[in-house]
């Protein structure tokens, strides 16, 4: 007869190892799909949740397979000819929404992976920095920084001050005429104190065009950009102030909530918001104490007669700031008056680019918030923000 055995298998880790490798591949896929993730509405509104589910192009080895939706199939069960047995979804796969029954939908391609927001943000923001950030004496911003300042006779073993301990042992043994030995009472420990230290203060002036020419898409793109900008700032920096300005023909400051929900209309006077930004900076943020980042997002439409003034105000902002940015939301790749005007502004602190769709937001963030802007972008606003920007 056959042999029945009951061995000890507890050391078999092959399944777990292969599983770990699969997990790693999934995370890699997430990093590769960041552009899609960042534009996902679900992610944008996910404030407060710790994890999100991200659809990742399935990690299967692709095969040449038949098109399920365009072929006939065999099933089993009751029903007359002509009777419907299920809905056909986009890709033709049958089955009830949400639940994947026992083999009802062969090889569904989307794999949902649960990841933490931190994981996504860490991957997204790895390359982003506030450019030209300098240490400034900002009165409002102090951080607690641990510093070893004192030596005591009690403390944590890990913090033994070896030099002082040896010195103490030498001193004691000499005094008593004994050979050198280190005893318990010779031990000296470093201790620390939290000392407040000044931080490099930074302020972002977020300016958005809310005039009538900004359609649904444009406003969505602009807000997505600012949303991810804020997430990145919170992720990287402890204290960055953000001021929110909106404008049509007039400019005014709003709360954060209002900034993300305001619906306005009317004409466009770009200089109005730039002038307001200058006022705020001069009043609240002295240049020697603050790194200043004015960031203007609009659709490029501006009253023709206002262009010269806008250019002059932007130049003034550049003089005061570590970086001044202009992002044009331009879904139709139009050549706009404002982009042409700003293109003539050859100022080292000035950066400009445009986005046509949501997939380019990450490129735009990289363009503004990196130490050096991508070369191709400056002065060529008509180019969409992919390609050269990413590099």
């Amino acid at each position: 007869m056959g042999i029945l055995s009951h061995d000890d298998w507890s050391l078999d880790r092959r399944g777990e190892r292969a599983k770990a490798r699969h997990r790693e591949k999934v995370r890699q896929a997430i990093r590769e799909n960041l552009r899609d993730i960042i534009t996902d509405q679900g992610v944008i509104v996910s404030d407060g949740k710790k994890t999100i589910r991200i659809p990742v192009q399935s990690l299967d080895e692709p095969h040449f397979i038949y098109d399920f939706g365009r072929n006939r199939h065999i099933g089993q069960g009751a029903g007359q000819k002509g009777e419907a047995i299920g809905k056909a979804y986009g890709d033709g796969q049958p089955g009830a929404a949400g639940g994947e029954g026992a083999g009802t939908a062969p090889g569904s391609r989307i794999l949902e992976v649960e990841v933490t927001i931190e994981e996504v943000e860490a991957a997204l923001f790895a390359e982003l920095r506030l450019p030209n950030l300098r240490d400034k004496h900002t009165p409002r911003h102090w951080v607690e920084q641990p510093e070893f300042t004192d030596v005591r006779q009690r403390g944590i073993r890990a913090n033994i001050d070896r030099r002082l301990t040896l010195k103490q042992a030498l001193l004691r043994s000499r005094m008593h005429g004994q050979p050198l030995r280190i005893t318990e009472e010779d031990l000296r420990f470093k201790t620390w104190e939290d000392t407040p230290r000044q931080n490099a203060g930074a302020v972002v002036i977020a300016m958005m065009d809310v005039s009538g020419s900004m359609g649904m898409t444009e406003k969505y793109l602009a807000r997505s950009f600012f949303h991810w900008m804020e997430r990145f700032l919170e992720h990287h920096y402890q204290h960055v102030e953000v001021r929110y300005l909106v404008h049509h023909v007039e400019a005014y400051e709003t709360s954060k909530d209002a900034f993300y929900s305001t619906r306005e209309s009317g004409g466009t006077l770009c200089s109005s918001v730039l002038r307001l930004a200058l006022e705020i900076i001069r009043r609240d943020y002295p240049q020697d104490a603050w790194n200043i980042y004015p960031m203007y997002v609009g659709d490029g439409d501006n009253l023709f007669s206002d262009n010269d003034l806008a250019l002059a105000k932007m130049r003034e902002l550049c003089d005061l700031s570590a970086m001044s940015g202009y992002l044009e939301v331009n879904p139709y790749h139009r050549v706009t008056s404002l982009s042409r005007v700003f293109a003539s502004l050859l100022h080292p602190a000035f950066r400009q680019t445009s986005v046509a769709d949501r997939r380019q937001i990450l490129d735009a963030l990289k363009h503004f918030f990196s130490e050096r802007p991508a070369a191709a972008a400056t002065g060529d606003s008509a180019a969409p923000a992919n390609g050269g920007m990413a590099g």
């Binding site: 042999i3 298998w9 599983k19 490798r21 072929n71 006939r72 199939h73 000819k81 009777e83 026992a102």
Partner: protein, 429 residues
Amino acid sequence: MKPGDVARLEQSIEWLERRARELGLDFFDMRYEICPPDVVYTIAGFGMPTRYSHWSFGKHYERQKLEFDLGLSRIYELVVNNDPCYAFLLDTNTVLQNEMIVAHVLAHSDFFKNNARFRHTPRQMVETMAATAERFRRYEERYGMERVEEVLDAALSIQEHIDPSWRSRHTREPSLHAVPSLAALSRGGPLAEKDLLLFVAAYSPVLEDWERDIVATVREEMLYFWPQLETKIMNEGWATYWHTRLMREMDLSEDDAIEFAQLTANVTQPNRFTLNPYNVGYAIWRDIERRSGVEKMFEVRECESDTGFLRNYLNQDIVDECQLYIYDRRGLEWVIVERDYRVIRDLLVQQRTNAGFPTLRVTDADWNRQGGLCLTHAFEGQELDIQSIERTLPRVHRLWGRPVVLRTVLSGREVEFVYDGDKVERRAM
């Protein structure tokens, strides 16, 4: 299984094996291993107890383990075509479940040993795969995991494109070192090579020797698995028939009899969207027994594969009993369109041909005079999935290193997909 159950299982195994032999089953020596779920799901994920490691096996392992943890698990059997034949039993199963599995895998073992399609499968595959795993591990040390994985990813993507009929057409397995040169090959008339893996391993202009070895090994393993893919309905039906018969002869308590009935009902439960091979296979075998007796059953299990099994033995009675139908897309819904056994039989045979995979042939190894590889789909009415073409061609390119082309038919038009290393282009021909 509770303590004390092992003794009962041992007794049952002795009885089951003896009774199975009396009834005519002829199986390999059996090795039953009782293991914890982790191990069973590892083996199920890897497909074999000693296979090399790949992330896709880890994915299957994780999915099955998750289903187990959620109580949704459906693995009732895990049996390896090998001499001796290995069967893995979950230590969390009830003793009755394991008895039923033993009865079930005895019939599989008989099928492996006696069905004609399995005649040329190596019976020491467990050892062979252990050696392969060791070799691949050394490649990983030497060339890096990423590179080994890349080649494996690509080879696994086209693993089903082999030619199992090599074994019947040739007495000797073609060796990588004895293939004719490409030039000699093309002098022999128009190229139409079905064994894509062999072709790539032999003629790829870019692969290194160890990479060729990986491709050739994936092919070897697929040749080993192929008969199981070709006889799924027959083999599961055969095992279900015999486990039912053997268990009914066993002296079961009332509780065990109820549990057994429930288990069998689960295994043979029909599905609206696919054919359940346990259910349909079992019904066909019982129909053969009714009409022609048990003798005939043994003859059929020796000679046929799924296509012949369905073509010769599916009839209206079975279609009615199993409530088989064809469904098709009508607008936004799937609709039952056919109940006639002849139409169902013909579609089933078509779907089971080439083990259910599209047939591709290498028709040009110097496409566009760029050394490109051209694959032609033998179109027989079933269209290919476009996204799958676009995602798989780059994998072929990884192995061939020159442009790769797939020709097929979409909406009645001949089209070709070309991947040149950068992007997939689609052209009408």
